[in-house]
Amino acid sequence: MTTSAPATSHALDGTAPQRARAGEELLRVEDLVVHFPIRSGPLLRVTGQVHAVDGVSLVLAAGETLGLVGESGCGKSTLALAIMRLLDPTSGRIVFRGNDISTYSRRRLRSIRRGIQIVFQDPHASLNPRMTVQQIVGEPFEIHRLLDRGQRRARVAELLELVGLSPEHARRYPHQFSGGQLQRVGIARALALDPQVLVLDEPVSALDVSIQAQIITLLQELQERLGLAYLFISHDLSVVRHIASRVAVMYLGSIVETGERRAIYQQPTHPYTQALLAAVPIPDPSRRDRARPLASGELPTAARPPSGCRFRTRCWKADDRCACEPPELLDRFGHGHPSACHYAATTEAAEG
């Protein structure tokens, strides 16, 4: 990295929120539910609900990374959009620095958006192709009426250097960048207003492995320098193991297991976590013949989730109890590592 001194410690104006102390709780999500109506028939009546997010709770503290993993359709991106209030939750609370923002008007949300920002998977789709990088990264100042023109220009240059680009890049348009460079622009824009929390929705999934490693390393450096908290959403369990301090595993709209990184990767107790970890290919040919429990079948639709435990249709442990009684996310062993399975247990196969 060629970046100079930390660029974000100065306040943008007198109203900038105070920085959080390390470990202080920044974001709390309580029992969040997002349902989408299914409309059908000639009058488009509501005939059902897609249970995209169904009662998710989580906490994010200053300076930490919470990894949220799950396969496509598990609701992890919907959860991100709901936390950002880019989607309206059906019920539940989103508490950011002590304020319940789940019912804030768009106007009041504006002040919150300075503290919490999002980076999407595909920067070519999420950044406006008709704007220069100067305009893209400088736009937040315009929206929030901060800084004059000269100050904005200087601040954009500073932000570009912070993410490993050069100030000359400010004149270019998105199509002139590769995916990795453009993702740096997306990160610079997200950092413009000096947030405390970044929601990162699959930020490296579209990138080649050598570029992916550059962006992961950049995110780690930025976190260290700026004390950022990350909600890191990904389907890639290897990436999450590398970047997250705590991990939550999602399946069909709910968190099925959560805990410290080591607990999740070395002593998973939920059968879905175990199956997920076993399914990930390992880049070491000498470990090819390891024993692997595999989840059978496919993800059920979130419009008609199974009764009881949602994983039971693919689970090798499932019995009658799993069909009637939805398992709660409970710390069954007192390890601070809750799991939503009636028959939670560690396995021998899942060693680290």
Binding site: S178, V209, S210, A213, I216, V239, A275, V280, E298
Partner: protein, 342 residues
Amino acid sequence: MRDLSVEFHTSGGVVGAVDHVSYEVRPGETLAVVGESGCGKTVTSLAVLGLVPQPPGRITSGEIRFEGEDLLRASPRELRRLRGSEISMIFQDPQSSLNPVFTIGQQIAGVLRAHDHRLSAKAAQARVVELLTGVGIPDARERVADYPHQWSGGMCQRAMIAMAMANQPKVLIADEPTTALDVTIQAQVLDVLREAQRETGAATVLITHDLAVVAEMADRVAVMYAGRIVETGGVHTIFHAPRHPYTLGLMASLPRLDTDLRQLEPIPGQPPTLLRVPPGCPFHPRCRLRNGRHRCVEEVPPLVDVEGSGRHTSACHFWPEMPGEVDTVSERIGVDLGAGLR
């Protein structure tokens, strides 16, 4: 395949997509061709099936021999006979590779009957059910009448494998077969692919960007960068004793599921666009082994035998300077790279 070169003529100039690429694959063997996007791995395989669009593409040199016959000089009719029977291909996105207006059963039966005109409709139908059952489709007898949109991505990819294996091909080319799939489904599909290959004994070319899939599936590996092969070797050799700085850089860029790494060692810079491939060794602007030496800029490194057996080749002038055994399982990889390459 020997010395294959493919160019594309674009508005921006001539793109050398594939530059003097040679490889071979034997019955029952899996060769993985690995590289990042735009390295030419897909174009290489399209050439085998005569599917490079010409123009804008042009095959400027080389030969592709299948059982002694040069496919680049075969008649369109001959190629049509080979495609789908002797040589078949599986693509990344099964839902767009299948025809949406025909049922799954009709499409697989079509492949069977295109290459065996005497096969009755009834016999074809029975064989389709057998093939789909073989790739793990439950209730195959009822589901042959489904259309592709009624099936999930994982099921469509199973159907593609069934179709590719329908005529017991001698060569199977699988281009990113599991990239579009979720990880639990990927594991199931890789198992099916492995099983199908074992049954038919097909020589398999697996094209992928995913080193972990390579480690799970391949016998031998060819690493491509900017249209060229930069290293080939047995799968254990490539993962534990790579002799090209790009291969080692890829390994050090990988986050690991099976261990806590202190930090990743990304390859600096960006991959070149094929319109402007750097002179000399195409990897030199990003290489940590180069140390400012002019030879890397002036001279294209040939693929040389590094072991004396012909089984391990590297296109690096300075391959003997690479660190010895690389223990990719432990945290030591970061240290090895630092000590060996800085």
